[in-house]
């Protein structure tokens, strides 16, 4: 038994060292660093998943901070909104209400491990849950199935962060069969055999309510999609926009804005840097 205990302790120590290595890899990487970067002096914040990223910081000179992050779900956006209410003079929030944002795919693929940064004790059911999730599990990437994806990519790219996908790609340059393949894959991920997530609906309602209670104007937005992807998804929609309409909240439905501009897209449903800049200008004019 002594030999076993000694060897087990040694082995567990090895696991802790591995855990520490992963913490170091994650610490200064874009996985957390960019996610935790927020400017507090704005009155309008844009909150969305990766669809909002191509806009980068182009709206800042008109007083809108881009608080979007890839894979942000309404769980994460609620934490961010709650954080903004406590720490800024926010007056207006623009939130994406895409066709897929209430999909169970989004419920499963979220940033709950990263948005912990914006959560405080009030966002948890008990202080035990708060301490466990925010301080203990958060520092155990070996137990986090989310963080491992990023570690995997870091190792694949030899410790350099992966490039932002929307900078260089041009959807218009892809052959038709490739476009079809990508649209089908994306559709399968977001819609095929997926149900609406009731917990995401609940989170979105919480966002609406917390904004109402704090007199914050809320606007919904649907980002432009490529013509090919619109054709693929048809009328599939999990209804985030409907929830806004039911609550008499304005929705800027800009899905069909660039049907003739494939060169504005990096892939089937994300703008590239050119499209992001042009869309920002359009959005600014629309919001005036």
């Amino acid at each position: 038994m002594k030999k076993y205990t000694f060897n087990m302790l040694g082995f567990i120590l090895g696991l802790f060292i591995l855990n520490l290595i992963f913490i170091i890899i994650l610490k200064d990487s874009i996985y957390t660093r960019e996610y935790e970067a927020v400017k507090l002096g704005y009155k309008t914040y844009l909150l969305s998943d990766s669809h909002g990223l191509p806009l980068e910081d182009s709206l800042e000179n008109v007083g809108i901070f881009n608080f979007a992050a890839g894979s942000d779900s309404y769980y994460d956006i609620y934490r961010k909104v709650s954080f903004l209410i406590k720490n800024t003079d926010v007056e207006r929030i623009i939130i994406s209400v895409e066709d897929h944002t209430l999909s169970e795919q989004r419920a499963n693929s979220n940033n709950l491990d990263r948005s912990l940064y914006y959560a405080d004790q009030e966002d948890f059911n008990s202080i035990y849950e708060f301490i466990t999730k925010k301080y203990i599990i958060n520092n155990l990437p070996l137990l986090s199935s989310k963080r491992r994806y990023f570690i995997k990519h870091c190792l694949q790219f030899k410790f350099s962060p992966p490039q932002k996908g929307y900078i260089l790609k041009d959807w218009s340059k892809l052959p038709l069969h490739k476009k079809k393949e990508m649209c089908t894959n994306r559709y399968n991920v977001q819609f095929q055999n997926r149900k609406k997530s009731n917990s995401l609906v609940s989170s979105l309602k919480d966002i609406i309510n917390i904004c109402k209670v704090n007199n914050i104007e809320i606007i919904g937005i649907k980002f432009p999609l490529s013509r090919d992807y619109i054709a693929t998804i048809g009328n599939k929609n999990f209804g985030a926009d409907s929830l806004f309409y039911e609550n008499n909240i304005k929705v800027l439905d800009l899905k069909d804005l660039y049907l003739r501009n494939d060169n504005y897209f990096s892939d089937e449903d994300h703008l590239n840097i050119i499209g992001g800049k042009i869309f920002s200008e359009f959005l600014v004019n629309l919001l005036k």
């Binding site: 030999k3 076993y4 199935s145 995997k152 393949e181 399968n188």
Partner: protein, 485 residues
């Protein structure tokens, strides 16, 4: 409580520490701790399930005592019958009531007299197919005087509910497992470490191999009408690996976990996809179930003795019942029947027991003949698995029809049926490791257990852990397949 869950990661060390540090000096305490732990483990799914397993255990315990007190043949038969009726009755009710009700109604409809099927909202207790057979083996073996009935309540109830193998096997024979509860277990370093190695390999098979294959297989099967033949074949092959990784992985974890507590369970898988014929396949796949049916059903029916008609009848009975055991759906029955058709030529020509050794024994490369034999057996099992996986017979037949008719080569990736190239490499490495370890209890025995270099062994552990961490699928939606049985 799943083996690949945080709950189990907390549960197991607590039980382990209590077992070896608190209760190790007393046999009754050891067994009592196992009993309580097993009930906590089982009740974690649904505490209501506990009433069923306790009742089933009680009935068989009393039947055992009754059998010890009577020599009269008629009374002994009645006691055995009581055990069979109660155990199979529960199994039949929870698992098959709705199936029979709907099939009954369908038959009436077919003959022009439609009736409404009575459908009950029944929750299938986890593991009922497994522990029911385990307790039945006790009653039958006591009846046949192969085993002395036990008066030790704690030992018996612990045997029935032993948590490592409770919910998905191996289905242990009372003659093997129950006596292990009569003797105090002593901590053995080698056995414990070997158990942990086997658990690690089982986790790798389940979380990396099975669950990644499940993503591809589910994608294809859920969308089979919209993909081409190549994708359909890929879906079937990936399901073949999924079910192997899932079930054999679980068995490895169960056997490894048992070793942590000083128990030795039976081997449940022996590299079945390297089989040279279907007879060999069924000696290597789900060994605990196939041997159970062989000993308690096939042999009492006469086995392979008797007239040709009897041989055919017995083969079909055993495979169809085996199929039916898997689930209340005609697809499982058909799957069993198809395996019977595969097996029949072997038994009629008395060639069902010609490949008893390990393929390419003492060689690395198989012969051309062996490659052909393994390939043929593999293809036959893949076809059968299509029926196992499909939701209905019509879907299964349609699936196969679409493979054969209008065969066209379209890259699966173009149809959204893709997989990570890194996983594909891992799958190839996995098959290689399984091949090189095919004569051992589990594949990594040679790499890990027999490796004399401690740094190399530890490197092996960390590489497997890292692979599980980076490439495993951690989704609560993908359970062990055999939990549904």
């Amino acid at each position: 409580m799943l083996f690949n869950s945080i709950d189990f990661m907390i549960f197991l060390p607590i039980v382990f520490i209590l077992y070896w540090f608190v209760t190790n000096k007393n046999l009754k305490l050891q067994n009592f701790l196992l009993l309580i732990s097993s009930y906590v483990f089982y009740g974690w799914w649904d505490w209501r399930f506990l009433s069923l397993i306790i009742f089933s255990s009680t009935v068989d315990y009393i039947v055992g005592i009754g059998l010890s007190k009577t020599e009269e043949k008629r009374n002994r038969k009645l006691l055995l019958l009581a055990s069979i009726i109660v155990n199979l009755g529960f199994l039949g009710f929870f698992k098959y009531f709705n199936f029979f009700s709907e099939s009954f109604a369908s038959a009436f409809t077919f003959f022009g007299r439609p009736i409404d099927a009575t459908r009950l909202n029944i929750v299938l207790p986890v593991g009922i197919s497994f522990y029911t057979f385990q307790t039945l083996s006790y009653s039958i073996d006591v009846y046949k005087r192969k085993l002395e009935p036990t008066k030790d309540v704690i030992a018996f109830f612990s045997f029935v509910s032993f948590f490592p193998q409770l919910v998905a096997g191996p289905i242990e024979r009372a003659t093997n497992l129950l006596p292990q509860f009569y003797k105090r277990r002593y901590f053995g370093y080698d056995n414990t470490v070997e158990g942990m190695r086997q658990m690690l390999w089982g986790l790798f098979k389940k979380i990396v191999i099975a669950d990644n294959c499940a993503i591809v297989a589910n994608n294809v099967f859920n969308n089979y009408q919209n993909v081409s033949s190549v994708s359909l074949i890929a879906g079937a092959v990936f399901f073949t690996f999924q079910i192997y990784g899932d079930f054999s992985g679980y068995s490895d974890i169960a056997i490894g976990t048992s070793r942590l507590f000083g128990f030795n369970l039976m081997k449940n898988f022996a590299f079945p996809y390297f089989s040279r014929d279907i007879g060999e396949f069924w000696r290597r796949w789900h060994i605990s179930l196939s041997s159970w049916f062989r000993d308690y059903l096939y042999i009492p029916l006469g086995g392979s003795r008797g007239s040709t008609w009897k041989k055919i009848r017995n083969v079909f009975i055993i495979f169809i019942v085996s199929g039916f055991w898997h689930g209340a759906n005609w697809t499982f029955v058909f799957w069993g029947g198809l395996n019977a058709i595969y097996f029949l030529p072997l038994i009629l020509t008395k060639r069902n027991r010609i490949n008893l050794n390990t393929v390419a024994e003492n060689r690395f490369f198989p012969s051309i003949k062996e490659i052909f034999q393994m390939g043929t057996t593999f293809i036959l099992t893949v076809i059968a698995w299509i029926f196992f996986r499909a939701e209905s017979l019509s879907i299964a037949f349609d699936y196969i029809k679409r493979i054969i008719i209008n065969f066209e080569f379209i890259r699966p990736r173009q149809e959204g049926v893709g997989f990570d190239i890194a996983f594909f490499i891992i799958l190839i490495v996995f098959i290689f490791i399984e091949w090189t370890g095919r004569k051992y209890e589990y594949a990594t025995v040679r790499l890990l257990s027999m490796n004399k270099s401690k740094p190399m062994r530890w490197l092996g552990y960390y590489v497997i852990i890292l692979t599980i961490y980076l490439f495993g699928v951690f989704s609560e939606k993908i359970e062990f397949i055999y939990f549904q049985f």
